[in-house]
Symmetry: C2
Subunit: 131 residues, 2 copies
């Protein structure tokens, strides 16, 4: 049984964030000492690692909650888990396409500028276009 500071050290998740995860329902409320200090066990450590890993993969809190309830459901199938992760992949893929599109547009816009010292500026002109 460890206190929140030790948990923070072991997981690399800030103390404030751990308390926040409890508040939003991603982490079960732990037991408390008489002083009110939180006391975590092995299961909490595992849950925080779970949150850390899914967060790194860009999962939203909503999707993480869905995964957690699968996790806690004894009737879960790995198929359902897979479908959830595939949705996440699709979302990420769309974000990547969007950002790639922006990247290409920026490159084209930069290419318009010859870097002269005149006050005319093809980049600013582009930004003023009606679209």
């Amino acid at each position: 049984m460890i206190k929140i500071g030790e948990m923070s050290k072991r997981t690399g998740i800030p103390v404030t964030t751990i308390r926040y995860y409890e508040k939003v329902g991603l982490l079960p409320a732990p037991g408390r000492l008489e002083s009110g200090y939180r006391l975590y066990n092995r299961a909490h450590l595992e849950r925080i690692n779970f949150l850390k890993n899914t967060r790194k993969l860009g999962f939203s809190q909503q999707r993480i909650k869905a995964l957690v309830s699968l996790l806690e459901n004894p009737n879960r199938t790995s198929e359902k888990v897979k479908i959830s992760v595939q949705s996440q992949l699709e979302e990420i893929r769309e974000k990547r396409l969007l950002i790639q599109n922006i990247e290409n547009q920026l490159k084209q816009i930069i290419a318009k500028c010859d870097g002269g010292e005149k006050s005319e500026c093809p980049i600013l002109e582009t930004f003023h276009e009606e679209t």
Copy 2:
């Protein structure tokens, strides 16, 4: 001279967002009718198009403000504008690399799952790893 609803129609930017841009200093405060209604001119329309285009390219408000002050500076050089847009490109490129990395990880994780009906689940196991 047009009212805010007409401006919204012409630019496609919601009325609430136009007021918000004024509040955060991206759009100069327009004149008002006696009733208090905002009245916009050609310059405001151009500014809103500018905001719309830079926002579409993922510029932060901070960077947009920097661009706007270049825009308003008669001593600006197109070189300075170019440098600002190049910084934006670099930021976007890094975001894209990050998201591509996530995408690849997700693909690898999904590939671990054979979709069986057993309760064991390589995906959930991956999410529980200490990292």
